[in-house]
């Protein structure tokens, strides 16, 4: 088994993609991380203390995985969804009644969305209580806050798409809240709804926001967010163990 893996790793195809040589040495391991777009956001070395469950409650990674689930299920759900009135509602009903596994995917999308809002919020609390917003992590805290807002906006824009009573009135309330904001409130509301009432324009706007614009920004900011975690000195655990500060054991990627 290991021989087979070695053979793949020494093949030209593998090397042309990953460009790292042996991973037997520390240098090789570092190069593997540095030279890979996907892996380079991860630190080469991780402090064992930060991997404890109580250090982070794994809230960040949970949020990230929920985001992945949302993206996958969301894209699949788009295949049966027309953002128009009243077809949007009939499409919901069709997912429920006639599309194989439609209910499962829709429920997955819905619960993952609720879960993501909760986990992002808890993640923020954890970071706050760990004091991880202190220099040099101020910038990443700000990005985190923006990501939290984007998560809420994703949740809000997705709410309208089923085009049922709940959707309509929740968005009415939300839009009026935006309208109550000082100075530009009314203009923001007008732009958001694409008119004065919640209608066809609003639905398509929310659809584009929900499926394209907001996910795009979330993806970009997530990349920066992860990268900055490493650049700013790694994770700051909630409860630091006194004894482990002196001799952190280091863990490589492979044994």
């Amino acid at each position: 088994m290991n021989k087979f893996i070695d053979k793949i790793r020494s093949s030209t195809a593998w090397k042309s993609i990953f460009r790292s040589g042996s991973i037997k040495s520390n240098l090789g391991r570092s190069l593997l991380i540095f030279n890979n777009l996907f892996l380079h956001v991860l630190p080469v070395k991780v402090k064992e203390d930060t991997l404890r469950f109580t250090a982070t409650f794994y809230l960040g990674i949970t949020s990230f995985f929920l985001f992945i689930i949302l993206t996958v299920t969301g894209i699949v759900l788009m295949l049966y969804y027309h953002p128009s009135i009243p077809q949007a509602y009939w499409d919901m009903k069709d997912l429920q009644f006639v599309v194989s596994n439609g209910v499962f995917l829709r429920n997955m999308h819905r619960w993952a969305a609720h879960g993501m809002v909760a986990s992002v919020f808890l993640h923020m609390l954890r970071v706050f209580y760990a004091g991880a917003f202190r220099p040099p992590k101020q910038f990443n805290w700000v990005i985190g806050v923006i990501l939290f807002v984007l998560t809420l906006l994703l949740s809000y824009t997705g709410y309208l798409l089923p085009w049922d009573q709940l959707a309509y009135w929740a968005v009415s309330v939300g839009a009026n809240m935006a309208g109550a904001a000082p100075v530009f409130g009314e203009q923001v509301k007008f732009l958001l709804l694409g008119g004065n009432t919640i209608a066809e324009n609003t639905l398509i706007r929310f659809y584009v926001l929900h499926c394209v614009i907001l996910p795009f920004f979330v993806t970009m900011l997530l990349g920066i967010h992860f990268w900055r975690v490493r650049k700013d000195g790694g994770i700051k655990p909630l409860f630091e163990k006194e004894t482990n500060i002196k001799e952190n054991s280091e863990v490589g990627v492979d044994d």
């Binding site: 009903k93 009644f97 209910v103 009573q165 054991s249 863990v251």
Partner: protein, 654 residues
Amino acid sequence: MLIEKVKDMSNVFAITSILFLVVLAISPAKDYFSEWRAFQHEYNELIEEQPRRIKPVEIGIKQFWLPDLGVTDRCTSCHLGVSEINLVDIPAPFKTHPVMYHTTDEFGCTPCHQGQGIATTTKESVGHEEFWNDPMLPLEFAEAGCGTCHEGGIAAEAPVLTRGRELIQDLNCVSCHNLPGYEDKFVVSLDGISNKVNRNWIVKWLSSPHEVEVTTNMPDFKLTNDEVDLLADFLMSLDGNSVEMVPLPADLLEEWPDEDLVELGSTRFREARCISCHLINGKGGHLAPELGKIASKVTREWLFNFIKDPKTLHPGIPMPIYGFSKKDVKAVTAYMVTEFRDWDAEEDSVQIKHTPEPDFYKKGIALFNTYNCQGCHELNVPGVGKNMGPDLSAIGSIPQTQLEFGDSGIETTRPSYIYNKVKNPRIFLENSRMPIFDLKDDDLIAITTALLAMRDSDIPEKHKAEYRPPPEYKPQGEFGRLVEKYSCFSCHVINGEGYLLASDLSNEGSRVRYEWMKSYFRLPYTLRPILTERMPNLFMSEEEIIFISDYFGLLFVNDEIDKIEITIDAESILDGEHLVKEIYGCNSCHLIDGEGGYVGTPFDETSKRSTPQWVYTWIMDPQKYRPDLICPDQGLSEIEGKHITAYIMNLSKK
């Protein structure tokens, strides 16, 4: 070391993986065990037991998609035998649909039955789904579906709906509710009411109309005694605006008029056959108000004037103006005031003197408006206005969430709301002003069905049934005046207009002999002894009789009938007799030589009355001109028909 710990997490890993697998298995399991799939398998097993071979269903969701009707119906995923003709005795949901007037390919299911057609579970499709605006119509109200598109002309296909529409019309619901398609109908005007009735009667009437007159359409407003007093005072103060009345002649002023006059009145009363329409002490017709206690209700002066000319006092009333002489009018009035008294009321005729409240007029008019009396009764007094109830033009599609059920505890559905509201209008709100109509259960269901059909439906016009109301025939000139005077349309139909209680007169000229017609107008006799509603003696003048008979003879003819050739000879008469008596047994209903039944018209008189052409037409297809006739269609051959005609025409010549 951490790496050791990770290696030690095998348990956690295994458990979460299995959990993941189980969660993933939920969706296909739910699909596999779905309700519709089970039904389709059951159906396929069931049809194998059938004597006739029926094509098994391919497993999968079935649907009708009709974009221009807005229909996506998946009902046939479970109702698999709807279009099969041989599954009548199979249990639901596989049963053959009873008589279907539309094909499912063209209309789907929900345009008629309502319900959530896109759903694929019993609960959500035909069950009571709280958040679906049009849940399936319960079967007893199913004809409401027909009424959504059909405005009329479906009496045979949808009897309950048609009955409901008639009731809504009769009860004059349109006087308080906006109900497109219904007409405000004739109800007695209240102008000058104090000249007509006395206060005691009004009090009794307002307190409980049904006790005074069982058959009245006037509903019970459940007025309190104070309200009744106020309204009675208000109504008794109305003496203006009434039609000029002729003062009573001297011989009617006495309490008990002359006996000879009463005797003559009694004869005229019988000749005019008043009891064909009026009920008197439990006997007679139900078309017009009861007369048993009329003398204690109306004033003598009013009664005299009414008998003289009912249409001046009550324009539009279905009662004819009898051609009574002055003396006859006096006599009938004398007879009625002598006989038709409320003897019980007379006993305690010590009238309790009633003093009205000082502001009774203001309060009375307010009360009059509150209960929208103006909706039915005309009253031209300043301050009276319409005060309508809720608009019901779209009651059949009103969102169920907008219905206020109060604490009535009934089922919270639209049909249940309408049914219970009509049954007991005060059920949801104690001080509701809607009166109680006291209807039977069948009538309640019929009315509910008709109201459920009042829908704001989005079915496109091209799919709606075109309904042409029967042509309106309005005779003009002198004939029109006579038809109006004698209220012919109250009982007869001409060219589709009128009320079919007696015969259709559209072909009268081809039907009866001129001489007979004249004699009949002079003195009508009963053609069919079994009937209760009989042609009254209208006391028409001779000129009028000749005019009407000429008019009928010249204008109401039918060439199709007139062109038939009938030869009457001995041979055909003999064969006809054989056919009538031996083969078809016509004498079980018809009198022949004074023997036989009393259901049909006596054959003995036929030849004096009818033309042979008409007799032939009639026996060949009795229902042709009288669809509701009970005389059986014997399916006679032409020769048989002609021979029977010859026999009948020959009968009375003996």
